[in-house]
């Protein structure tokens, strides 16, 4: 049973004049799968490495099961880590790679044998145990790296972008395998990625970071549907949310560049209550909340724009329409049956009840 808590964690590298991780606070429940996500350089890997003990914590407390861990040596933290490049030892066989940590800890040979065999069984590596990592495919190497973590029976798994070296198909497959593994082992896992899809699909909770700070912590659903600021809204989701710098006047948001749509009653009330009448704000709308079907156009008649399709991508079930109304560019994700060729003039309805509104200066959410 291990709860992990990070309290006001800061990291500043020697010689830098600013912090790489700023006031990081997080409680991780036992058995939870937490994903740190964010653009490169946001401090997610640094935070992970501080938890592992590979980086010193400049300020703040790291606790595991209530015990302060700041000064505990990495090897005594009972942590297993999977590295982005797997860090397999090329001169050792798969078996020896997985057994290395156990041998170092002087575990009896029979126990080592059993643990490695069990892990190999789980990961489908049994027939590769005598091979060297060089003779394995990318996916198999990834599994060995996971196996090395499993045999250790650690209280916490740290995974640092473990799938980024795999091809797209394998990545999807390994994503599921890691999720299954987590269910099976029921250990805490902290997973670092810059890929929001990985974060969305695997996490119990996502911690989204930018410029060293936590932006939001929540379930994938929270982050997607109730982003606390423009950064979170823009980072989660692919293609990204459309943003417009607009002005609210007379119940209508318009950006003066060809976009002008009415805000539905309920949403408008919140905006007015918060004093945004006749003020600038940022409107965000997800591509899937822009529609071209007849029904939608009729239902949202006061939020229809005249758009020209510039690029269209056919994706099988959906198609992406990169469009322009006046000088305003946006993307709409519509049903593939509503495919439109580039150059076509299309009427599109903005489902403003699902729009997100952000403050122009602070970029914090006004209303989701």
């Amino acid at each position: 049973m291990t709860e992990i808590s990070l309290e006001h964690i800061y990291k500043r590298y020697p010689g830098n004049d600013s912090d790489s991780v700023i006031d990081f606070n997080l409680e991780i429940a036992d058995g939870e799968f937490v994903v740190f996500v964010g653009p490169s350089g946001c401090g997610k890997s640094t935070t992970l490495r501080m938890i592992a003990g590979l980086e010193d914590i400049t300020k703040g407390d790291l606790k595991m099961g209530g015990k302060l861990m700041n000064k505990v040596h990495p090897k005594d933290r009972n942590i297993a880590m999977v590295f982005q490049n797997y860090a397999l030892y090329p001169q050792m066989s798969v078996f020896d790679n997985m057994a290395f940590g156990l041998k170092i800890r002087k575990m009896p040979k029979a126990d080592i044998q059993k643990r490695v065999n069990d892990a190999a069984e789980i990961l489908g590596l049994t027939e590769y145990l005598q091979r060297k990592p060089g003779a394995l495919s990318g996916g198999q190497r990834q599994r060995v790296a996971l196996g090395r973590a499993i045999v250790r029976d650690a209280q916490l798994f740290l995974l640092d972008e473990p799938l980024s070296n795999l091809d797209a198909k394998l990545r999807v497959q390994m994503r599921t395998e890691i999720a299954q593994l987590h269910q099976r082992l029921a250990t805490n896992m902290i997973y670092v990625t810059h890929d929001q899809i990985e974060a969305m699909t695997m996490a119990d909770r996502i911690v989204i970071m930018n410029k060293g700070r936590i932006q939001q912590v929540g379930t994938p659903d929270d982050l997607y549907n109730k982003p606390v600021n423009k950064f979170v809204a823009g980072f989660m989701g692919s293609p990204a949310m459309n943003f417009f710098d607009a002005h609210l006047h007379d119940g209508t948001v318009s950006n003066g560049k060809g976009l002008s749509v009415k805000v539905p009653e309920g949403r408008l009330k919140t905006l007015l209550d918060k004093g945004y009448n006749d003020k600038d704000l940022i409107v965000g709308i997800r591509p899937e909340d822009i529609h071209t079907e007849e029904v939608a156009l009729e239902a949202m008649a006061d939020a229809v724009v005249q758009a020209d399709v510039e690029v269209s991508e056919f994706l099988g079930t959906d198609s992406m329409l990169y469009s322009k109304t006046g000088e305003t560019e946006f993307v709409a994700q519509v049903n593939a049956r509503d495919y439109h060729k580039p150059g076509e003039h299309v009427e599109m309805a903005f489902e403003m009840s699902k729009a997100h509104f952000f403050d122009k200066d602070s970029e914090a959410v006004i209303s989701n």
Partner: protein, 270 residues
């Protein structure tokens, strides 16, 4: 066109090969001749051929002892050079401080100092602490040879991701275990290169041993001058001795050929 150029290359290679092998031909044929036979015709094949030169030379040179001396100095020296410079390079490479950068620069720039400028004070100082013997010599070799070796090692270590070390550390390995179980085995190609370069340097060295070693610890290259007096040169014995001295190198090469070629080419492209 292609065919003729190939032919020219083959011909030139063949001639170069002949040129290369010619000294060996001279040593080998003349080592079987009597002194008279040598002066009669240097180039001709030995007639009558005699193996006596080898027996006499072997005895006169105390060949087994000088072979033993050479082996001890080379093997102990090279092993220590490899271990120390690999460890030093690892420490210097992984430790990103100004001091380690400075130390590395010091090692690299030490390669530029000609040996001849330090040899007299060095032997004088070693004499003062009674280390003018083969152990003192090995000690000096570690100093002289580690610059290049550390330089070669640290380049390769830089290409090994730090996550290897970190992974081992998380698994519970200490610094020494990480180095000897994880990093050092990954350095095998460059270790071969470093090993060969040092074996060649130490085995063939003449000047430093001639300054340092007492007569009973003479290595093969030193012992070879036994037959060259100020007034007499016993070519027949000297050549037999030379042929003997080449023998261990040829045996070594036959066994290590695969690694030597790999080591040398690895070193070339890295």
């Amino acid at each position: 066109m292609k065919k003729t150029s190939k032919l020219v290359i083959a011909l030139v290679s063949f001639l170069l090969g002949l040129l290369w092998i010619f000294p060996f031909y001279l040593i080998l044929t003349n080592s079987f001749k009597t002194p008279k036979g040598i002066f009669a015709s240097v180039l001709s094949l030995p007639s009558p051929a005699t193996g006596d030169n080898y027996v006499n030379s072997f005895k006169a040179l105390d060949f087994l002892r000088s072979l033993g001396n050479s082996l001890i100095i080379t093997v102990v020296g090279v092993v220590l050079i490899i271990v120390f410079s690999a460890m030093a390079a690892y420490a210097l490479q992984r430790n990103h401080s100004k001091i380690s950068g400075g130390i590395l620069m010091l090692f690299v720039s030490a390669m530029l100092i000609p040996f001849q400028t330090v040899m007299i004070p060095l032997t004088a100082n070693f004499g003062r602490v009674h280390m003018l013997n083969m152990w003192g010599l090995i000690f000096m070799y570690i100093g002289f040879q580690s610059s290049l070796s550390i330089f070669l090692y640290q380049g390769t270590i830089a290409s090994i991701p730090v996550s290897m070390d970190e992974s081992a550390e998380l698994e519970g390995a200490n610094r020494l275990q990480t180095f000897f179980k994880i990093i050092f085995p990954m350095l095998t190609p460059i270790t071969t290169t470093v090993g060969i370069l040092n074996i060649i340097a130490l085995w063939n060295d003449y000047l430093l041993p001639s300054l340092v070693l007492p007569q009973n610890q003479y290595t093969i290259p030193l012992q070879m001058f036994f037959f060259f007096g100020q007034y007499t040169k016993q070519w027949h014995l000297a050549l037999a001795g030379l042929a003997l001295s080449i023998l261990p190198v040829i045996i070594f090469y036959a066994f290590a050929q695969r690694y030597i070629i790999k080591g040398v080419t690895d070193g070339a492209v890295k």
